[in-house]
């Protein structure tokens, strides 16, 4: 009996000691494996809140932005930069290229008509459209129109007038050769810009427009310089008429005084 009691007591003691050890070994705060931890509920609520926020604060504005971007893209593609209109404009440039070439060929048809040697030479130089031939104008001009008369043949004022007139006439002829040549270069540039336009984009077309505008300003300037030369020619022409009237008046005065002297001498 005592042995049984001792045995029972020993078993109880062993169990209590074991349990005590287990309890001692257990962490003070342990997360249970079974059942819901309060943390899980909080995390779940937090994640749910994040998900809702992503839907409302992120996805919704993003969707709206996408819609706006799509609308903007459609507007640009259909209203502002429709590809059909752009291609049509490019096609026009290609079509114009042919017409520009045709016009250039038309203006290159020969217009020379002189039949005698001296006029033929001068005319050839004048229609050469080559700046290199400008110095020949002086020689060809002198061969046809002559040079200033010798001092024995005319009074100095008349010689001055003749020289001035020759100078202006030659200058105008030289200017004609120069601007003819410049016009050819302008036509070449115009064709090149047009070729570029045939493959240009709406964005680069504005740059080409600026270039064409610059060329146009340049062409206007050259035309203006030719107009100035024309004004000079006409001014010299007018000056010559005035000078001839002045010479005529001087001759009349001389004749009158000579006549008076002769009449007085006769008496």
């Amino acid at each position: 009996m005592a042995g049984r009691i001792w045995k029972l007591a020993r078993n109880i003691a062993a169990t209590v000691v074991g349990l005590a050890i287990v309890v001692m070994l257990l962490p003070t705060k342990a997360r249970s494996q079974l059942g819901l931890d309060p943390c899980c509920a909080i995390i779940s609520a937090g994640l749910s809140s994040i998900s809702n926020l992503l839907s409302s604060a992120v996805a919704k504005p993003l969707g709206a932005i996408q819609q706006l971007e799509q609308q903007a893209a459609n507007f640009e593609q259909q209203v502002v930069f429709p590809i059909a209109a752009i291609n049509q404009a490019r096609g026009l440039a290609t079509q114009f290229q042919g017409q520009f070439t045709q016009m250039k060929q038309t203006f290159q048809l020969p217009v020379a008509s002189a039949t005698l040697p001296a006029p033929q030479q001068l005319e050839q130089t004048l229609l050469s459209r080559s700046p290199g031939s400008v110095p020949q104008v002086t020689t060809n001009y002198a061969a046809l129109y002559g040079t200033v008369m010798p001092a024995t043949d005319a009074p100095q004022p008349v010689r001055d007038l003749v020289d001035m007139t020759d100078a202006e006439a030659q200058a105008a002829m030289k200017k004609a050769v120069e601007i003819d040549s410049l016009a050819d270069l302008e036509l070449k540039a115009a064709e090149q810009i047009n070729q570029q336009l045939a493959t240009a984009a709406p964005g680069s077309a504005a740059i080409l427009e600026a270039q064409a505008s610059a060329w146009l300003v340049r062409a206007n300037a050259y035309t203006q310089s030719a107009m100035a030369e024309l004004v000079r020619v006409r001014s010299i022409e007018l000056a010559n008429r005035g000078a001839q009237l002045k010479f005529s008046t001087a001759h009349t005065t001389n004749l009158h005084s000579t006549g008076s002297q002769m009449v007085q001498g006769a008496h």
Binding site: A57, L116, E123, V148, A169, L197
Partner: protein, 268 residues
Amino acid sequence: MKKYLQNLAAFAGKFQHTKHIFALVVISLCLLPGTARAAGLSDIITLLTTITSTIQNAIGGVLTGIQTLNNTVNNFRQQIIWPVNALNQTRGFITSTRAQYQGLMNQIHQIKNNSATLRNPTQLESLYRSALAGSIAQLEGSYTTVYSPVPLATDAKPIQRDLMDMDDALAMGSLKTAVLSDQTTSGMLGLADSIEQQSATASPGSGPMLATEAQIASLESQAYLTKVLASELRQEAAKLAHENTLLKQSAANTRNLENQIQQVLTHP
């Protein structure tokens, strides 16, 4: 853990009821947490709050701002810069302007200014007003018919013949240039019409391309204008040179006359 189990087994082995002890130990172990908790509950709440706040304010606020900005830019483009109504109105304006002026301008441009009444001048005039490059070959013959050819060498002095020939050449040259210029003008008017026609269906994007085309055509036109001006310069210069040569001739004639009078007076 292994050591712990060994110690426990050794301790249990001292007792006879090891099965009970083992069962107790296994249940206890099952109740042990697998891992220790790294952070506290307050940390988790703080983290979630931070994430929520970031999404709501930093990200959501910026996205809403971008949306508003995009909307404003779109509205500005569609209502201020390129309103479709204004674009269509402009296209309509081009069409109506073309209809209003083009026919009238063509009618004015096509008015015939021919005024000659006799046969030869009428023929010459019709040639140099033809605006057909092909007709310039006939112009020379017709010109000679009206203005006569250069006299023979027996009928005029060389300088006079040269002057006449040069005057004729430059006059004919200018008439031919005028014919070529007229033809080019017709071409240019055609180009202007094409550009205007296409403008009526253009978009803001293709508009600059058409404007560039117009500038190029304008440059071409300016170049031809320069060529016509060169022709006029040649003509005016020749006119001046002609008059000057007559003056030179007059001086030479006076000198000859003086020489002859002197000869007469010295040898009566």
